[in-house]
Symmetry: C2
Subunit: 195 residues, 2 copies
C-alpha cells in the first residue's frame, strides 16, 4: 500500500516536525531514531525524507523556528517606557512564553551540542540577539539610575538563567498559576538589579 487517502503533503510535513519535537524533548536527539519519528507520524522511515534532507535538519529547523518565533514575539513587546516597566514586561513575557513551549525550550538548551558547527553558530547568534534585548534594558536602567551599576552582561546571563529555570519545575496542574509565578519572579528580578 502507498497513500491511503488524499494528498497528505501539507498534513504530514508539520506532523513530522511535531513528532520530532516531542520525541527529541522526551528522549534526546541522539536517542531518537528516524524510524521512531516515522512510527509516530504513521509512515515508513523513508517517507520522512520527503520533508527533511536529513535528521540534523530536523533538529536545526526546530531550534531555528523556536528562536525566530521568540524574537518575533519579543519584538511586539519592545516599546518605550521606563527601564523598570520594560524589565517587568520582559520578565513576564519570558516566563509566559517559555512555560507555553517547554518542549522547544528543552531542546533549544539541551541539544546545542548535537548541531553541526555551522548550525550551532546560527542558533547561537539568534540567542545572542535575544540576550541583547535584556541587556539593553538593564543598561538603560543603569543610566536612568534606577538599576544598580553592575556588570550588565553577567546580570543578563543570571536573570535569563533564573527565568528559564522555571521550565524545569513548573507544572500547569501544580499549586501556582503562571500569573503567580510571573509575579514571584518579577519580585526577585526587580530587587536583584535595583539599587
Amino acid at each position: 500500500m502507498a497513500r491511503t487517502a488524499g494528498s497528505h503533503s501539507d498534513i504530514t510535513g508539520p506532523r513530522v516536525l511535531d513528532a520530532a519535537l516531542r520525541l527529541f524533548a522526551r528522549h534526546g536527539y541522539a536517542a531518537v531514531s528516524m524510524r521512531q519519528i516515522a512510527k509516530e507520524v504513521g509512515v515508513q522511515a523513508g517517507a520522512l525524507y520527503n520533508y527533511t534532507p536529513d535528521k540534523q535538519s530536523l533538529l536545526f529547523d526546530l531550534m531555528k523556528r523556536h528562536m525566530e518565533d521568540l524574537l518575533a514575539e519579543r519584538a511586539k513587546h519592545r516599546g518605550a517606557g521606563s527601564a523598570l516597566e520594560q524589565l517587568e514586561d520582559f520578565t513576564r513575557f519570558h516566563i509566559r512564553y517559555h512555560l507555553d513551549r517547554s518542549d522547544e525550550v528543552f531542546i533549544a538548551y539541551m541539544e546545542l551540542r548535537n548541531l553541526t558547527p555551522e548550525n550551532f553558530a546560527e542558533i547561537e547568534a539568534l540567542r545572542r540577539d535575544y540576550e541583547n534585548e535584556l541587556e539593553a534594558i538593564l543598561r538603560q536602567g543603569e543610566e536612568e539610575g534606577v538599576f544598580a551599576p553592575a556588570d550588565t552582561r553577567i546580570e543578563t546571563m543570571a536573570v535569563i538563567a533564573m527565568l528559564t529555570g522555571v521550565t524545569t519545575w513548573y507544572r500547569a496542574e501544580g499549586r501556582l498559576s503562571a500569573g503567580e509565578v510571573e509575579r514571584i519572579y518579577w519580585d526577585m528580578v526587580r530587587k536583584a538589579v535595583s539599587v
Copy 2:
C-alpha cells in the same frame, strides 16, 4: 598482544570513568559509544566490562559520585551563623564548586533523562537534599526577618538556577576571576531575597 606491562586495574579503572565523564559531557551519553570510551582509555571495548557492568552504570556512577561529593563538601560548610552569612557561604560555595567541575555539572543536568527510572529516583533524591540545604537557609532568614516573606521553594529553585547558570558562560581565561564572579552573584542573590 594482551597486557603490555604490569597490573593495570587500579589505573585503568579510574581512567574509564574519566574518559566517560569527558566524552559524555562533550557529546552526550547517547552519542558516545563504548568503543569511543575504550579508545580514549587505550584498550579494546570488551576490557571496559572489567570495570562496569554496562554503559548505564557508567553514567549513574558519575552522577552519584558528583552528587555525593557535592553534599559531602557542602556539609563541611554548613554551620551556625546568621541566615545572611550562611546564604553568602552557600552562594560562594556553589559557584566555586560548580566552576571547578563543569563536566560533572553538565552531565548531572543534561543526562537525567538517560537514567533508568530507579537510577533517576536516586539521583533526584540527592539533588533534593542539596536544594533543601538552601531552602532551610532561606526559611531561617525569613524567620529572622532579614529575608522577605516569599515562597521559599520557588526562591530556592530560582537561586540555584541562577547560580548554576554561571557554568554555561564562565571561562577561566576570561576577563573575570572566580572570586569576582562570586561577588557579583552574591550581590544579586542577597538583594533578590532581602526585604
